[in-house]
């Protein structure tokens, strides 16, 4: 495997200490306030502490209410408010993630163990393929941390991921007109999966992951369209061949395996040049902003794709 250089974070992107410390105070107070009515809103969300990290942005955070109520999570329904409305019966505990395939030491990771990883708070942009975006303070750890533990074999070239199937708890998975075949599956190249920006998130906004956001554990790959960041993961397999992925299976002309955020490659049905930042610019000031190559993470990840035709490999 190639060696990785650390992401280059321009000084302008690093939030001054006094600002982020005051934000942490605020969040501490918010978390304490949240305790008072824990369980009232997003099921199972509980305060979660994490170490600060250099992964910060100089952009306004998307309000927590927007992050937890405006979601694409078709297992709970296809409308943006369905996951928040229909995920109350979903039980993210107990949970375990099976990591298997071409590895020296396959292993089932219990949720307790995953929550004890070296958790960091990382604020990332999230760009949906539909043309909207958010800025979210995730809590998680690099995916590479668990890949290292299972010791991938030399023949492993890709990583595939699988979401839980629980029709009894996920109303989008039962009845007529299911929008997608289940389980939802996703995949990354092994070098993408090992990139330090790729994390498994177990929380956001200082709390454990709410159900609509993929509790209890999900992938976050911020330089790719949001649907790559698979939610409620139960299985991670190391494989030799490029794995199948749900949206590519559904419509290969529109959704590719890579799905890197790329303003120069339009989705066949809509432009990807601009995006609407959710929660900003209300009814009259819809201020679409330009979409950045690799969602603004080109400095860190563009080298993964040296020599790859990004128009053909969308």
């Amino acid at each position: 495997m190639p060696a990785y250089r650390l992401p280059h974070i321009p000084a302008s992107e690093i939030t001054p200490r006094d600002i982020y410390m005051s934000r942490r105070n605020f969040m501490g107070a918010a978390a304490a306030a949240g305790l008072a009515f824990a369980g009232a809103d997003s099921a199972f969300a509980a305060p979660l502490t994490a170490n600060p990290s250099p992964y910060k942005l100089d952009e306004k955070l998307t309000p927590k209410e927007a992050v937890t109520t405006y979601n694409n999570f078709y297992e709970f329904g296809v409308n943006k408010d369905d996951p928040a409305a229909n995920s109350g019966d979903f039980k993210p505990t107990p949970w375990s993630v099976k990591v298997d395939g071409m590895v020296g030491k396959p292993k089932d990771f219990g949720l307790d163990e995953l929550m004890k990883m070296n958790l960091e708070e990382r604020t990332y942009r999230m760009r949906c393929v539909e043309g909207w975006s958010m800025v979210i303070p995730w809590i998680g750890f690099p995916l590479s941390a668990i890949l290292d533990q299972v010791e991938p074999l030399g023949s492993a070239k890709y990583v595939s991921f699988e979401t839980v199937v629980r029709p009894e708890e996920m109303p989008g998975q039962k009845g007529f007109f299911q929008p997608l075949p289940w389980p939802y599956i996703e995949g990354l190249r092994l070098d993408e999966a090992r990139h330090p920006l790729a994390i498994l998130a177990v929380g956001l906004y200082g709390e454990t992951l709410p159900n609509p956001n993929g509790a209890p554990i999900r992938l976050v790959v911020p330089w790719k369209y949001g649907f790559k960041s698979i939610k409620s993961i139960v299985r991670i397999s190391l494989v030799e061949k490029q794995p199948e992925t749900t949206w590519k299976n559904a419509n290969a002309r529109e959704y590719g395996f890579y799905s890197n955020v790329n303003p120069a490659v339009d989705h066949p049905r809509w432009s990807q040049a601009t995006e609407q930042r959710i929660g900003e610019g209300g009814f009259f000031g819809a201020n679409r902003r330009p979409t950045l190559p690799f969602n603004g993470y080109a400095d860190q990840v563009a080298s993964l794709y040296d020599g790859l035709d990004l128009k053909a490999n969308y």
Partner: protein, 221 residues
């Protein structure tokens, strides 16, 4: 044959005006929700989508008038012009919101979308086709165009089909709500193909039923 209690003729005109008012209520309601933060976190898209869906609903209602009369004997033809025009107003609003609130009058982007994105090309073509129908919806045009009016207004079938296609292409996956709208449009268009045989069969039945009944009456008598 089922029949509703007939609305006294003197209320006909008022009922049509009431339909315009009621018909435009969803637009006013969603606009109010948009202004007051009730349309969620992507209010412009939500408003735009609701206007489009309501346009389809009024097109469905417009297409429903004839089968309602043929099959249920309910003659609401006096409401058809209002339903068609309300559908046109919704399509116009849908497009205006897309151009203004969504794209911020970036006409380059609008033109690019219309040229490059088939579902927007189709939607825009439907809007254009609706214009002559709206313009000729008055009594004067109906008299002036005579048979030509009927031929021109058959465009509504193409518009309805285009609207359904626009909807299918715009969603990421066809789920129950889009399916119901599309299925209704397909059904109502398909009805036109079988309308003549259906009506002949109904008339035929009526003819054969009558003598049978009178025969029975004679036998009883």
């Amino acid at each position: 044959m089922a029949s509703l209690p007939a609305l006294p003729r003197r209320y006909h005109k008022a009922s049509v005006w009431a339909l315009y008012v009621i018909g435009l209520c969803p637009a006013a309601w969603y606009f109010y929700l948009g202004l007051t933060g009730g349309l969620g976190f992507n209010p412009v898209k939500e408003f735009e989508h609701q206007l489009g869906i309501w346009a389809l609903r009024f097109i469905i209602a417009t297409l429903g008038i004839t089968p309602l009369r043929d099959l249920a004997g309910i003659n609401w033809i006096r409401y058809r012009r209002a339903l068609g025009l309300i559908a046109f107003y919704y399509v116009l609003l849908h497009f205006s919101v897309y151009v203004s609130l969504d794209l911020g009058f970036n006409f380059g982007a609008v033109g690019g979308d219309i040229a490059k994105r088939p579902y927007i090309t189709i939607g825009f073509a439907c809007l254009l086709m609706l214009i002559p129908l709206a313009v000729t919806s008055n009594n004067w045009s109906i008299r002036k165009l005579a048979q030509g009016w009927n031929r021109l207004h058959r465009l509504i079938y193409l518009i309805a089909a285009g609207g359904a296609l626009h909807y299918v292409l715009a969603v990421k996956s066809v789920t129950l709500v889009p399916f119901i709208h599309i299925a209704l449009i397909a059904l109502l268009i398909a009805y036109r193909a079988v309308r003549r045989p259906v009506m002949n069969w109904k008339r035929g039945n009526g003819k054969s039923a009558k003598p049978a009944a009178s025969q029975r009456a004679r036998q009883n008598g």
